[in-house]
């Protein structure tokens, strides 16, 4: 049978939990601020792409590809810096794209352009939801 817990041990446990919660809470604040500042950039990039993307169906897949590549070049000219990730802000992809953080991809699907944003963790964003609620702070 285990010996009963002494009040001093409970006091030490209380302090340990308090310190853990405080340190963890401060770390979570830092993580949140870091993510929000980067996410702001991706949301802006995604919103611009969703807002300006050609929406029509192209006559051939080749024409859609050319339009997509040109669209990506134009966007990368406007947003030459990608403060969120190491590469360009926009990438034209031809197949299933690997998850890359802070990138907006443009692909051709059924002779239309399809825009997908990848958040700070490289996970695909909702896109339609982001189009409904543009970021409050603009980069330009």
């Amino acid at each position: 049978m285990m010996p009963p817990i002494r009040p001093e041990a409970t006091r030490r446990l209380t302090w340990a939990i308090l310190i853990f919660v405080a340190v963890y809470g401060v770390w979570a604040i830092g993580l949140s601020v870091w993510v929000i500042n980067r996410q702001q950039v991706v949301r802006q990039h995604l919103w611009a792409a969703l807002h300006y993307q050609p929406t029509q169906r192209f006559p051939t897949p080749a024409q859609a590809t050319r339009a997509g590549q040109q669209f990506v070049r134009q966007l990368n000219d406007v947003y030459a810096q990608n403060p969120c990730g190491p590469g360009p802000a926009y990438v034209f992809v031809t197949g299933p794209s690997p998850p890359v953080a802070c990138v907006v991809t443009v692909a051709v699907q059924d002779r239309r352009l399809r825009v997908t944003g990848y958040d700070t963790q490289g996970l695909p964003m909702d896109s339609i939801y982001e189009a409904l609620y543009p970021p409050p702070r603009r980069l330009d």
Binding site: L13, F20, I36, D126, I128
Partner: protein
Amino acid sequence: MLPYPNINPVGFHLGPVPVHWYGLLEIISFVLGTWWLIERGKRPDWHWHREQVLDLEYYLSLGAIIGGRVGYVLWYDLPYYLGHPAKIVAVWDGGMSFHGGFLGVVFACWFYARRHDRHLMAILDFIAPAAPIGLGLGRIANFINDQLFGRVSHLPWAIVFPAGGPQPRQPSEIYEFLLEGVLLFAILVFYSRRPRPVGAVGSLFVLLYGLFRFGVEFTRLPDIQLGFVLGPLDMGQILSIPMILIGPLLLFWAYRGGFVGDPPPPAAKSRAAEAP
């Protein structure tokens, strides 16, 4: 796919003042929770009078509101509030964090315990089963308010939320209502029907809420300003991890007899002294 029930967020008007379901459900949950605690306090193993419960509720309300708001500001959108400090107090614009509210309630209980010669863990045991009443009705309020919905889904019960665009989504508020509200309430009420070691009921709440919230977040759309924050985890899950870690530790400590209960009230003391 299910249609979103067309519920007017305004329940009724009191003269020119619109009464929103959200506020109404908050008031209902407060009244129900208080009534339930008053009834619970009458049990011989508790020693809580009606006036004491009402006094405690005052502390709890302040702790939940202040903690919930501070938690939201710090953990969910600090850059925005640093730029708009006047908005920090604008709780009517929305933005409360359960985890902040929980810490606020714990602090309020500690403060109450110091002022009224009681013990923190015993108070947490007393109030824990009532918390799911407010949590559950709060999630219903979220659903009626067309907010905090889930990720895109093609499940048969997915719902097109008007504020979420044309895609069907997981009704994550309903999942949260069922888990954090109904199931958590049922488990805690059932568990606390028999006398338990001091701290056990409160610790079980910490563990189970953390687990339920962590799981449901996999269906919920992350806050738009954050997205996912650490791999596939969102902020709600990050903040639930300490609950999942600390809950079992406290439960173990409680069963080892590590927490002290409230001192018996004067009447009980005198009865004990008179006993042969």
